[in-house]
């Protein structure tokens, strides 16, 4: 009886979260690798460098004082070079890795307080994960791989297959249900990985360099698939990448990681326009700014003016605005707010200036 009550409660909670989404809150997270991390955590807190801690005490700092708030329904990108601690960070969210210190709240629930059974239920119902090397079960075909999450939840077979088939079709694998992973290309294997994660219908999707192993064209293709899907599923997605272009394309918010520390976080535009240090400046130099900066960021105030021949909505990217302007042959466009009123003005020269990398910036 108590069991059933608890089960119903859990279901109601799951429904509530499905409707409103689940945010993730990481506070003061530390991870030390080594035989006795808790012994050395204070030294890491006091700011001892990664090399010093490693040489003197034989412990590797994986993550240092991570604080990130990931709002529900958003794509949070974590970007950094290889070895910066991205995989370590994302594995804390479903506790595949135990932190040395810190707090982790998912949808307001303290994940670190969960016992083994709670944690299993949490992984089954609240998170799903996509892996860099796909990590499909080689002895199972596409359908059998896709149902895996539901199968271990013990759902009736018919429901498993129904949900799986829907997502297999949605990621473009219809007709391939009977193929085995080794009969598929990398791009298709990752579609299976994506379908497997989506079939779980968890509010949180964790993607660790999910597209990094794919060829550039396929990768862009998969990014589009994900962006399309996200419009419909509105999950909280944590997306890991080492590629800034990918980060800017996918991320509502981006956190940049270096040597286990967050060195900047904000929207893509924040990062491109105001890089926190030389390291990030170097990164953003090669970026196509026209695809990141929005018109309202660079417009001159022109509230209340009557709209000229070319108008764009606030939120339009510079590249798109520039194309419209060029096609029209005009020199100036007006920016409209949601209500359709003019709120600003941008001319061609201003636009081009914003799209090229500032000279001397390094």
């Amino acid at each position: 009886m108590a069991d059933r009550l608890q089960h119903e409660q859990a279901q109601r909670e799951a429904q509530r979260q499905a409707a409103h989404g689940v945010g993730i809150e990481i506070r003061g997270l530390y991870k030390l690798f080594g035989p006795n991390p808790s012994l050395h955590i204070d030294k890491a807190r006091a700011g001892m460098s990664k090399t010093e801690l490693n040489e003197k005490h034989g412990h590797v700092i994986g993550l240092r004082d991570i604080n990130i708030t990931m709002p529900a329904g958003c794509v949070q990108v974590v970007m950094g070079l290889s070895g910066s601690g991205k995989s370590t960070l994302i594995r804390h969210i479903n506790r595949l890795i135990e932190p040395t210190a810190g707090q982790l709240l998912v949808g307001g629930t303290d994940v670190l307080a969960m016992n083994e059974a709670d944690l299993r239920a949490f992984r089954r119902h609240r998170t799903a994960m996509v892996f860099q090397k796909f990590a499909l079960l080689p002895h199972r075909n596409v359908l059998e791989n896709t149902v895996y999450g539901l199968e271990i939840q013990g759902l009736p077979r018919a429901r498993q297959v129904e949900a799986a088939m829907r997502w297999i079709e949605r990621v473009g694998l219809k007709g391939f249900e009977d193929r085995y992973p080794n009969q598929l290309s990398g791009g298709m294997q990752q579609r299976v990985g994506l379908a497997r994660a989506l079939t779980n219908d968890a509010p949180i999707l964790l993607m660790d360099e999910a597209f990094s192993a794919l060829d550039p064209l396929i990768r862009i293709d998969m990014q589009s698939v994900l962006l399309d899907l996200q419009k419909e599923i509105k999950k909280t997605i944590v997306f890991i990448t080492h590629d800034l272009d990918e980060a800017l394309r996918l991320g509502d918010r981006i956190a940049i990681l270096r040597d286990g520390e967050v060195i900047q976080q904000g929207t893509g535009q924040d990062i491109v326009l105001r890089p926190a240090d030389d390291y990030i400046t170097k990164f953003v130099k090669e970026v196509n700014r026209g695809r990141v900066i929005k018109v309202e960021t660079i417009m001159e105030a022109a509230a209340g003016a009557s709209p000229s021949r070319v108008t764009v909505l606030a939120g339009t990217l510079l590249e798109e605005a520039a194309r419209r302007l060029t096609e029209s042959g005009e020199q100036t466009l007006h920016v409209l707010d949601e209500s359709g009123k003019v709120c600003g003005r941008v001319d061609m020269q201003r636009m081009v200036a914003a799209m090229v990398t500032p000279a001397g910036g390094h």
Binding site: N94, L96, F122, R123, I152, N182, L184
Partner: protein, 295 residues
């Protein structure tokens, strides 16, 4: 300079007393628990007898059909099926059918026992480095100890007959299956295991859905080796009353019947080849989806 020519050994009397004490201890143990242990193995005896009765009482065409069918489903290769049937036919022609059936029955039961006992031990070993460190040397000893030595305590404990023979064979043949189960599970791709964890698999689901299936080709290699070793031991076990192809060989040695020994020896080789090819082909088939075709 006496001590240079002859290695200074423990005093003869002390040594004799030591051996006597151990033997007597073991004998006392046998007297106290022998009956209990024997009745503990009763189900095994039943299994052995039923299996042997089935193999010897079933008309030969049905047995041929059965073995052919098993060979086909395991290997999907008609050449293997054909050579298995030809081998059996030759064995029958040379009047060794009954003994061969008894040996096959014995091997079958030994293999089942080795799997039932060996796989759980291998699984346990794969989960704990400490257990692995403890069991590995035992397996080394089991594999290098001359096989005759196993017969002694088994006979003291259980006397002569099928069950002691079975136990001696299983002790001799079980190490590969334990080792390769352990190895196969330890070699399972960490990424796939992590995925299973990330989706919330329980330890049992992880074992059943990921570790065992992915380790299966390796485990099959272990089963194959176990069968081969069991076949080798079955001849030796005939000294303590295991019936089958081993007994004529034993008789041939005692009476210097060269041809008798040769025929029975060849029959053993024949069924060894059948078992080997069929189980290897099955292992290979298990790996069909493992090979990387696409990067």
């Amino acid at each position: 300079m006496d001590w240079l020519e002859k290695f200074p050994n423990i005093d003869d009397d002390v040594l004799r007393e030591l051996k006597k004490a151990i033997d007597e201890g073991f004998r006392a143990f046998t007297r106290a628990y022998g009956d209990a242990i024997e009745s503990f193995f009763d189900p095994l005896q039943y299994f052995l007898i039923q299996s042997e009765r089935f193999m010897t009482n079933t008309p030969w065409p049905i047995i041929m059909l059965l073995i052919g069918a098993i060979a086909w489903f395991a290997s999907r290769n008609w050449k293997i099926v054909a050579s298995a049937l030809v081998t059996l036919a030759l064995i029958g022609l040379f009047d060794m059918w009954d003994d061969t059936m008894k040996t096959i029955s014995m091997i079958f039961v030994c293999t089942v026992m080795s799997i039932v006992v060996g796989i759980p031990i291998g699984v346990a070993m794969s989960r704990s480095d400490r257990l692995q460190r403890a069991i590995n040397p035992i397996l080394d000893v089991m594999q290098t100890m001359p096989s005759f030595v196993y017969l002694i305590p088994v006979v003291m404990l259980l006397g002569i007959g099928k069950v002691p023979g079975l136990i001696a064979v299983v002790i001799y043949a079980i190490p590969p299956i334990i080792r390769l189960t352990n190895l196969g599970i330890r070699l399972v791709d960490r990424d796939v295991l992590e995925a299973a964890d990330a989706f919330g698999s329980s330890p049992w689901q992880r074992l059943k859905n990921v570790q065992l299936p992915l380790a299966l080709p390796t485990i099959m290699a272990g089963i194959n080796q176990t069968i081969m070793m069991a076949l080798a031991m079955v001849v030796i076990a005939s000294m303590i009353g295991v019936q089958g192809l081993g007994q004529p060989v034993l008789k041939a040695i005692a009476n210097q019947y060269f041809t008798l020994g040769m025929f029975n020896g060849l029959a053993i080789v024949g069924i060894a080849i059948i078992f080997d090819r069929v189980s290897q082909a099955y292992g290979l088939r298990l790996q069909k989806h493992r090979q990387v075709i696409h990067g």
